[in-house]
């Protein structure tokens, strides 16, 4: 084994951004990072146990790359470790395939449905939409109609069509390949959450020094 210590060995590590695991699993190094190294070293370090998930753990665990380097260093003190990309991995523990509860889903659906309906009615009243529609009817035809449905029904359908167009969904079917603003927004939200947990769950990233 003496030549192992003499040779200059480079280990490239790229931590995965987010790993989803189940309860009671031993997280190994290969689960949380991509590694490039000599075959012999590679086989050895990918099997390093990093963390055993227990009931006591929260559902989010942050593994900092410093911890990983420490573990590799005990095995290969001379190794040159190069870190590429993120410096920590978020391990998300999911308990036994949490299914979507259908009644709750239906409740939310109805909530959104009636909320949207109520909101659009309030909006119409708020901005005197009725008077504007009657006025438009008069402008075009020259006659007064208290209920210009010929204008209002296309308007109502267009309202929904505009929302669908904006979110790039014709009910499941896409107009083009680009992600919809909603998907981008979901992604941004997840990124912000990840950033928050990285900073707050990781005890090493924030340090309070008390000098008294």
């Amino acid at each position: 084994m003496w030549e192992v210590n003499v040779l200059e060995k480079t280990i490239y590590i790229r931590m995965r951004h987010r790993v989803i695991v189940h309860q009671d699993i031993l997280v190994k190094f290969q689960d949380i990072a991509q590694v490039i190294a000599d075959e012999e070293i590679y086989q050895k370090i990918i099997a390093i146990p990093i963390h055993k998930i227990t009931k006591q753990d929260n559902n989010i665990i942050i593994i900092d790359v410093m911890k990983v380097i420490k573990l590799i260093n005990t095995l290969y003190p001379d190794a040159d470790i190069q870190i590429i990309g993120p410096t920590q991995t978020i391990i998300e523990v999911v308990s036994k395939k949490r299914g979507v509860s259908i009644p709750l889903f239906i409740l939310i659906w109805l909530l959104l449905f009636f909320g949207a309906a109520m909101a659009i009615m309030n909006f119409h009243e708020d901005v005197s939409m009725k008077a504007v529609h009657q006025h438009i009817y008069t402008i075009i035809t020259g006659t007064y109609n208290p209920h210009p449905l010929i204008f209002q029904i296309p308007y109502s359908i267009g309202l929904g069509l505009g929302m669908v167009l904006f979110f790039n969904h014709i009910f499941k079917k896409r107009i083009n390949e680009e992600p919809s603003p909603l998907e981008v927004e979901m992604f941004n939200y997840q990124q912000n959450l990840d950033h928050y947990v990285i900073m707050n769950e990781n005890k090493e990233s924030m340090l309070k020094i008390d000098d008294h």
Binding site: Q152, Y155, L161, N176
Partner: protein
């Protein structure tokens, strides 16, 4: 007399400027026009779209402040109604998105995959709420 007319003209100009810039700023924040160009792949025509908004706003000013009457058939109202509806729908959708309602809701309930169905609730709610309002509610 001349002074007061000049002052009134100045105030009118100032008011118009404030409303106009506010309107454009609002549209810009919501990103409705970029979204339309992105969908239709007509980025090069964006200046024409800007002018469309400006001309539309000025037409709106004209017909709401003066008594313009065109004496056309009422069928002309169908495309206009559809166009205004789509525009409002896009603005409403953009507002929902700016306020981050759906991502948070989907995350809380754990229905990340079924977000389209939640979106359908909003869309159908808007359409049916609007139809209900015009066909039934205003006649009460």
């Amino acid at each position: 007399m001349t002074i007061s007319i000049l002052i009134v003209m100045f105030i009118g100009l100032a008011g118009g400027l404030a409303v106009g810039t506010g309107y454009v700023a609002f549209l810009t924040v919501l990103g409705v026009i970029p979204r339309l160009t992105q969908l239709s792949k007509t980025m090069k025509m964006i200046h024409w779209y800007e002018w469309a908004v400006v001309m539309g706003a000025l037409t709106g000013v004209l017909v709401s402040l003066e008594d313009v009457i065109l004496f056309l058939k009422s069928y002309f109202l169908i495309p206009i109604g559809l166009a205004t509806g789509i525009f409002y729908g896009m603005v409403a959708a953009a507002l929902t998105e700016v306020l981050n309602v759906l991502p948070i809701l989907a995350k809380r309930v754990g229905v990340d995959g079924k977000i389209t169905i939640l979106l359908m609730a909003l869309v159908l709610g808007k359409i049916l709420g609007s139809l209900f309002h015009w066909i039934y509610f205003v006649k009460l």
